[in-house]
Symmetry: C2
Subunit: 270 residues, 2 copies
């Protein structure tokens, strides 16, 4: 593991975290995954805004932007770093669920090699696991990610890039690590994530960029049948950017051009 | 913090854990909280059986019992230790939800001072948060505990010992850190936890001890109205053992004798 050299914990190079950290004990924190392009962080303003929102939602004091920027840039300057992950947890605490006053937030900034497979056509599958409904946590990119792990462990075939998840009511919500858009008659739709799922930065950018072009992205309930009948299915996150679903179990989609359109939107105004 | 001296990580005295541990990144692990009584661990067989079950449910290799026994006893022998917490996580991994083959489980054994407030009459309240329904995780004492933290943060009054939680359908499930029993006409009932909540060891012991005495504990759906009409309301976990609910917002219960009965059951056959 090279993590020794490429991790900053509260600003110090370290590969170890206090065992009493509430991130470990309870998943009591939030995270971000950033793409680094030639030493430069992409979409920082969006990522920091979302980090601050997620911290606020859990009443975790958010690190100051300038402190994080400096730490992120320090790792982004390393040639081996193509991805940076930030974890902000409520910090080390005593045993027990009670949030103690005055606990100091832990910030972890980690550098990783670039991820592959961005902007591709992909093959996907359905997951059996149904996402639980928790309005108090939906949208937040928090550290309680067992649903993602269990659903991702439903397949091992490396040719399958992603699994699609429904909620208990049978509405399609997202992939295990991506947000979802569908296109119907030249209109963009994305699932309602007020009860489960994560409000990803890439999803947010696509919605904003669409609006700037006079296109509305409709937030809607999307059934399995409706998804299968869509003209195009797109998946996104900050690393893979936009994946076009070419194959979903027994169904196939020719390229209708929306993936390229969304990619070009995303890559303006970095 | 005295944690330096009272923590074993994979058998070594240490207060730091690898920052790449999946327990931190995803809450990808399980835990146990044990009471230590005069240097002796209470209900070890029950705790280890449950730990092994929970590990199996998440496909995490469980540490060998003899290894854990030796580590737990090492800390239990310290006079300052009245509580031991065990965390077993899937271990350090690469970035991403995929479970890598061959990752080595992390086991953390931590000693803490004794907890207070065992076997008391308590005042409790209702929590606003409704527990999400996730059959694939219900029952497991895993590290995804944000619902517990958010619900525990709903009150700060130190005279309120616990908050009661309902699921989305309005059925009472548990407290933020306890399991629940009610008594109706000399019959014991406990909520169905197949969709949310934790199958605690103390709950399991009470059910087993009841059975040995020819008493059945009925697993049932319990509404708020039914709970309020019960003859007795009891809360339990391995540290507080059995709390009798004396007061719940505007309702009061005189002691009907069941708390003492359950305590005597629990304390046989240690």
């Amino acid at each position: 593991m090279k993590s020794e050299a490429l991790v900053l914990i509260n600003g110090e190079r370290s590969s170890n975290i206090n065992v009493m950290d509430r991130g470990l004990h309870y998943g009591d924190g939030v995270f971000r995954t950033l793409k680094i392009d030639s030493g430069r962080v992409r979409w920082w303003a969006d990522h920091f805004r979302k980090l601050a929102e997620d911290c606020a939602a859990l009443a975790i004091p958010c690190p100051e932007e300038q402190v994080l920027v400096s730490e992120v840039n320090q790792l982004a300057a390393e040639p081996a770093v193509g991805v940076i992950k930030i974890i902000v947890s409520r910090g080390a605490g005593q045993r027990g669920y009670t949030i103690q006053a005055g606990a100091e937030t832990t910030r972890v900034v980690m550098g990783f090699p670039a991820s592959r497979h961005e902007n591709q056509d992909v093959r996907v599958r359905w997951c059996d696991l149904r996402l639980a409904s928790q309005p108090k946590l939906a949208g937040i990119k928090h550290l309680n990610r067992l649903e993602n792990i269990l659903s991702r462990s439903e397949w091992t075939d490396p040719d399958i890039a992603e699994g699609l998840l429904m909620d208990e009511a049978g509405f399609v919500i997202c992939g295990t690590m991506t947000n979802l858009f569908i296109v119907e008659k030249n209109k963009l739709f994305t699932p309602d994530i007020s009860r489960s799922g994560v409000a990803g930065v890439t999803r947010g950018r696509i919605m904003r960029m669409a609006k700037q072009r006079g296109q509305t992205v409709h937030v809607d309930k999307i059934t399995r049948e409706r998804l299968l009948a869509a003209d195009e299915i797109l998946l996104c996150n900050s690393l893979v950017e936009v994946w076009r679903v070419a194959e979903l179990e027994e169904s196939y989609w020719p390229d209708a051009g929306w993936a390229e359109k969304l990619r070009s939107w995303l890559n303006e105004n970095n």
